[in-house]
Amino acid sequence: EPEVTQTPSHQVTQMGQEVILRCVPISNHLYFYWYRQILGQKVEFLVSFYNNEISEKSEIFDDQFSVERPDGSNFTLKIRSTKLEDSAMYFCASSTRQGARETQYFGPGTRLLVL
């Protein structure tokens, strides 16, 4: 069964460093999402992406964050200058098309630890 994959599974970085989290969505999916879950808290929406542009972003997704689909398969989340509070589990998700009834399928996540 096709699945969303994410790399790396764990990332440790120093505060102020840039990190890039990578995702390979399911191949025929067109809508891509990033969510994050700070330890002990809810899964929170960060950003959605379609047709090479951001569809919607949350308040969390400030200028330090960016997303890109550099080729036909990868979808990346970049944090330019990491802060301690960016430590979280980051999940990528994808769906076939827009619509509430289109299930979003999640990857296994990248655990980011900022020291």
């Binding site: 969303v4 809508y31 899964v43 929406f45 919607e56 509430a100 299930t103 979003q104 999640f106 996540g109």
Partner: protein, 113 residues
């Protein structure tokens, strides 16, 4: 932001019995609701969903009930099995915009043999 709430952080149920997980929401614009299941070190896995035009949806051992007037939904698992032990997230979305999912805090379900 407490648009979706799961007030029980944990639930323990005997194997073979019914598990009932509850979820409340405040945003009346939500029109589609989903349950995801999450094991440690994995991403959320879609379980079952329900549209606001229905009040019940069933898939095998899993049934979701929606009470729109009370802004409440519940997930019933019967019979419960040890493999059902996981964290269950309720999520809601609306059929406009980017369909971002708004999640509850999760309920950790433990099925005891």
């Amino acid at each position: 932001d407490q648009q979706v709430k799961q007030n029980s952080p944990s639930l323990s149920v005997q194997e073979g019995r019914i598990s009932i997980l509850n979820c409340d929401y405040t945003n009346s614009m939500f029109d589609y609701f989903l349950w995801y299941k999450k094991y440690p070190a994995e991403g959320p896995t879609f379980l079952i969903s329900i549209s606001s035009i229905k009040d019940k949806n069933e898939d095998g051992r899993f049934t979701v009930f929606l009470n729109k007037s009370a802004k409440h939904l519940s997930l019933h698992i019967v019979p419960s099995q040890p493999g059902d032990s996981a964290v269950y997230f309720c999520a809601a979305t609306q059929d406009q915009g980017a369909q971002k999912l708004v999640f509850g805090q999760g309920t950790r379900l433990t099925i005891n043999p």
